[in-house]
Symmetry: C3
């Protein structure tokens, strides 16, 4: 290509590929999924990714007077085979928004507020084999299931506002249909249901504290909900993060907490994380996961990384994993 025509669109994204291996593929699927979101079901050496690769299209138009029109479309894919990751084209994000002097109003598909907080508290951003904030180690695990509730919602309205260190995020997903269904964005038991979420955070210098809530309508019984609390403090030499989540699913109230930290080494970074999950179910399922990682920064946009992680569901065998790779943002 040559001589770029003018456009108001910015292409951006992340590509990440490396080698991933874990020591078990047989026996307990639960033990394996405790290792996180890479989706390995084997113990071979895999070409895989630690960051979820994306190709995005975004644009902003200044309308004057503090108003802006915006859009963001993010396509998710797996670069090891070039495949689209989900059925929707812009599965990662698809938002049209108006920024106003009193906050930003958006519509479309995006994360619920609790999940923005969840990412921020995990040094691995809920991604890759080493993540400690994922759906498998959190109380989120039981609140979110692919067929009923997802971290993202379709057909939603979003509002966010930041002032004086405070940030407020709200989201409401429309059920849009009275017919039963388990499509993405469906938010209930036997059919599409309404769902809403709220997040409030405060940031002042090195301190960050956040609280978020997510509630889903159900066909029968009481609504399900999830509450999350997180905090971090940047001491310079080390930035510890703690968070706690509790899901109220009616019959059970699973809980989880994580203790994590990032340690800067020159321009590079060491990541540490521990997560504990208690399913509060009949079999008293409890799980622990510990991860350590190192990210060597080659440039503002490119880093090489390596991680070791080990997870264990109580009464089951330990699953240990390792990755090494390169992440390039553009």
């Amino acid at each position: 290509g040559s001589a770029m025509a003018q456009s108001s669109v910015t292409l951006y994204g992340v590509v990440d590929l490396g080698l991933v291996k874990q020591n078990r593929a047989d026996a307990s699927p639960a033990g394996i999924t405790a290792l996180g979101a890479v989706g390995l079901t084997n113990k071979e050496l895999n070409v895989a990714q630690a960051t979820k690769s994306r190709l995005g299209f975004r644009g902003v138009e200044d309308l004057g007077g503090g108003y802006k029109a915006k859009f963001k479309l993010e396509h998710r894919f797996t670069p090891d085979n070039g495949a689209q990751s989900a059925t929707a084209d812009f599965w990662d994000m698809s938002v049209v928004a108006l920024e106003t002097p009193v906050g930003e109003i958006g519509a479309g598909r995006d994360y619920m507020p609790a999940f923005y907080l969840q990412f921020k508290q995990d040094p691995w951003l809920n991604q890759g084999i080493a993540e400690v904030g994922g759906t498998t180690t959190y109380a989120f695990a039981t609140y979110i299931t692919p067929t009923t509730r997802s971290a993202r919602v379709n057909n939603a309205l979003f509002y966010s506002m930041a002032a004086s260190g405070f940030t407020v995020q709200a989201a409401a997903s429309m059920k849009e249909s009275g017919t039963p269904g388990t499509t993405p964005g469906a938010t209930g038991d036997a059919g599409a249901k309404n769902r809403f979420g709220l997040g409030v955070s405060y940031e002042a210098g090195p301190l960050f504290v956040g609280l978020a809530y997510d509630q889903s309508e159900r066909t029968v019984g009481a609504d399900h909900n999830l509450t999350m609390l997180g905090a971090s403090y940047d001491f310079g030499m080390v930035k510890p993060r703690v968070s706690y989540a509790r899901a109220d699913l009616g019959a059970t109230t699973p809980t989880s907490y994580i203790v994590a930290a990032t340690v800067p080494v020159d321009t590079n970074i060491v990541k540490l994380g521990y997560a504990h999950f208690d399913a509060d179910n009949a079999t008293s399922t409890k799980a622990n996961k510990f991860s350590i990682g190192y990210e060597h920064v080659l440039s503002k946009r490119t880093a090489v990384y390596t991680d070791v992680t080990s997870g264990k569901i109580k009464g089951s065998q330990t699953v240990t994993g390792f990755d090494v790779g390169v992440r390039h943002t553009f």
Copy 2:
């Protein structure tokens, strides 16, 4: 992203999201579809769009001497859930063309000429809940059906030429196969058939008149065809548009007409439209639809809009709909 590499491609598109609601979801599907192309099958509040969202890639290369090489690829999606709208990637348009001093010759997938005229006559451009030029209110309704004939054709050759106020458009779609099929671009009864179309228009100052014809080969019986006539005149204060269409389907000859107008209010616009459809079938199906809309322009590329529309199939109940949203082009 930063530091854009040079390219000869322009990224462009439209994203539109808002709230849409109609008063009926039950009973007569016919009554509901009479309201247009938004595809609602419920009476809940929906996050939906009034303009069909698209992401396009286009390029032009000047070859000198009045010759240009061109391409245009348009991807259609629904931003409320980030999903691709149809099975084909560039379902909206996929054309490679050579512009020459004696007209433009193209190949690929695009609208047939009659549909370019149809859009021009509808203040809503055949899109959203309020449109009055759509397949459901026109004679087009019975000529076009998803499984046999579409507004667009695959495997086609296109020709267009503009001079002295006249524009000529011609298209011919190849049947490409002797085997029966109902794939997009298929143009007959029991299998892929040849199809061709022709459009002629004249524009002089405030006046526009256009005539278009579309004909589809059939396996048995006479070919089907459609004729459309449209005109508009820009009085400045108001721009009325009238059009008439007649489909010859052998057994029946459905007809439709629309009377519409746009009224500029400063830089904003008021839209009015009325459409009448007569199916000329055994049950004498007749339908009426009336729409009014207002578009408030925030910038050259962004507008907020609201529309109210009401449609009724004779003997059935009235369906009324409402939308409000924001449209951003890039």
Copy 3:
């Protein structure tokens, strides 16, 4: 679109459309597929392509000290109907790579080295109705089958290095799973298997010679392999190319050779090619194909072309094809 935001991504690609016709659609499928990769199963006039159309996204970041971070994502589609060509989004190529002073290391999805050599030896680059290097006329035909082995591999590591006229390419695809499967990148009989390839070439002025090897693990029996040898010499007036390939499939050892040439005519080009294939099977299947083409260059990025080709499987009828079209790169 206007006012391009800065980005580090380059959009590039090829679109090609024209008319293609062959004289037979009935009888022997084998005879028809001998004509190459256009996939025609009819004898109608088709709108089709001679070059496989692609839309690509690529980026390079200079990390200093001879290091670069790179990615390349290529989407394949058919512009005659706007459809995606394969199940994977970036089916054509999906590579993340680090360039270092001692060679380039990549991961993802790409061609195996033998196929880079195969393309180089075919004046039609293994594409369109006239190609003589394709899977159907080569020994490659029997080595590559859609359900077991492909020209491309997923989940692979790649290495390449060029110095003093020599280029070395190596690729290894991970089996990643012990479970049987016939997914893309699967490289065995009854399940995913390891696969590796090596290519070495030498270029000095007008001379090019290349040798490549590809080996696939099997569940039972000995591994399959393929060896290819190719050479060309640019005499200025004409550039002849010869190549020979031999697949060792255990029970049979199919072979093929091609003799081809390109002849520059001003800035335009005449292409000639002959391919012979011997399946070495029970029925002694042998096939011949001859092609001649002319490419008229309109600009650096746009050309019009026409080709005539004729193929015959011994004992079967001759299939003759013709195409004319325009190819535009961007």
